[in-house]
């Protein structure tokens, strides 16, 4: 029976693929196909056909391997999962449609064939969902890593003076990391003044403020002074409205101003050298 179906599909692959394409084009006014080149559509369709034949003629293990290969490829292409699922459903629809038309399917054998085709469809569906979720997990993981790399390193700028530029949203996890890097950096570089630059932080709410205050306290404990720089005017206003007390801080609007003050604290200044 498997072999019969396999050879039926093999012999009728082209008309089946034609009706598959038609089904897909009818789907939401062909929105799915607009993103694919004709070559891509053809090769995907053929792959689906081969996969079907493969499931009927090869053993389960081989089929499982092929299915995984196919799923990973789909996910890598970045096609939406709903598109791939639609493609699969429509492919089986196209087979039924064709088998009905040619009289291959009759009342006696239809139950068995439907089961056979479902045996093909179910593992493929599972595998595709799995491949997609793996890709997504990986993406999330990578983005997390990218975000951590972005987070907060303490840069020694001058002797005794370091800067930590903060860029992006600060969540609980990043806040911890900022604190760690800050303290380690202060000790390692023997910083006396640390400038926390929040120019790149989009929102300073009570949580972010709280973390900044705690970080400054901790910096004080290891014997250095923490300055808050890069306070944009709108951020200054929201901090005031929130009633957050930053009186213990030296704060400046720009990093440049902060740096001048930091130099003053460490008894230095920048002077212009006259040309000789």
């Amino acid at each position: 029976m498997n072999v019969t179906l396999a050879s039926y599909i093999r012999e009728n692959l082209n008309p089946i693929l034609e009706s598959w394409k038609q089904f897909m084009e009818e789907e939401e006014e062909g929105k799915f196909f607009q993103i694919m080149s004709d070559d891509m559509i053809d090769s995907t369709a053929h792959e689906l056909g081969e996969l079907m034949i493969f499931s009927l003629t090869e053993n389960n293990q081989e089929f499982a391997r092929k299915v995984e290969e196919f799923s990973v490829k789909m996910a890598r292409h970045g096609w939406s999962i709903s598109f791939v699922m639609k493609a699969l459903t429509n492919f089986t629809e196209a087979i039924y449609h064709h088998m009905g038309q040619t009289g291959f399917l009759n009342d006696n054998n239809s139950g068995n064939y439907i089961r056979l085709i479902n045996n093909w469809l179910t593992p493929l569906n599972h595998s595709i969902v799995e491949a997609y979720s793996k890709t997504w997990e990986r993406t999330v993981q990578l983005q997390k890593m990218a975000l951590q790399e972005l987070s907060a390193s303490l840069i020694p700028v001058f002797d005794k003076i370091s800067v930590m530029p903060l860029v992006g949203t600060i969540d609980t996890e990043r806040a911890k990391l900022i604190m760690e890097n800050l303290l380690q950096g202060v000790v390692k570089h023997r910083s006396e003044v640390v400038l926390l630059d929040i120019t790149g932080v989009p929102v300073v709410d009570t949580m972010v403020a709280h973390h900044i205050i705690q970080a400054a306290d901790a910096v004080r404990l290891v014997g250095a002074k923490c300055m808050l720089v890069g306070i944009r005017p709108e951020i200054a206003q929201t901090i005031v409205a929130l009633g957050i007390n930053l009186n213990d801080f030296t704060t400046t609007s720009t990093l440049q101003r902060g740096m001048e003050q930091a130099l003053a604290i460490t008894n230095r200044q920048i002077v212009e050298v006259e040309e000789q």
Partner: protein, 133 residues
């Protein structure tokens, strides 16, 4: 007339999504940078309170118009524990979580209009409005 959109608050990152939605809406209504920051910060506070104290809930942003006046309404709704002593919560520095206790009174100051509906064991709905001037 009102247009509304919302974000479910379940994870910490939903707070960022709610904020982003609020900022976009505020921009579209025509708020300037300072008011955008006020609105975004208010959303951040309310969304984080939901996340911390109620576990989950929803932030809805509504654009409103009253005659020639335009504005934005933030609705923060949860079915959490509710707030037993609302007067205390509105005092600066009151916190049950070791925070700054500045969120609720802060949002009241950041926005033009602020209303809390809360019932212990049922949940909390906070409505805060900002008018475009």
């Amino acid at each position: 007339m009102s247009i509304e959109s919302s974000v479910d608050i379940i994870t910490e990152w939903d707070i960022v999504a709610a904020r982003q939605l609020g900022r976009n809406e505020a921009k579209e209504v025509g708020f300037g940078t300072v008011d955008q920051a006020r609105i975004t910060t208010a959303i951040s506070e309310l969304a984080r309170n939901i996340y911390l104290y109620a576990g989950k809930g929803k932030i809805t942003i509504e654009r409103i118009a009253d005659g020639a006046m335009k504005g934005i309404v933030i609705i923060a709704a949860d079915q959490g524990p509710g707030i037993p002593d609302l007067r205390k919560v509105m005092e600066d520095g009151y916190t049950t979580s070791g925070g700054l206790g500045a969120g609720m009174p802060g949002v009241k100051r950041l926005m033009d209009d602020f209303k809390v509906d809360t019932e212990v064991g049922v949940g909390t709905t906070i409505t805060a409005t900002k008018w475009l001037r």
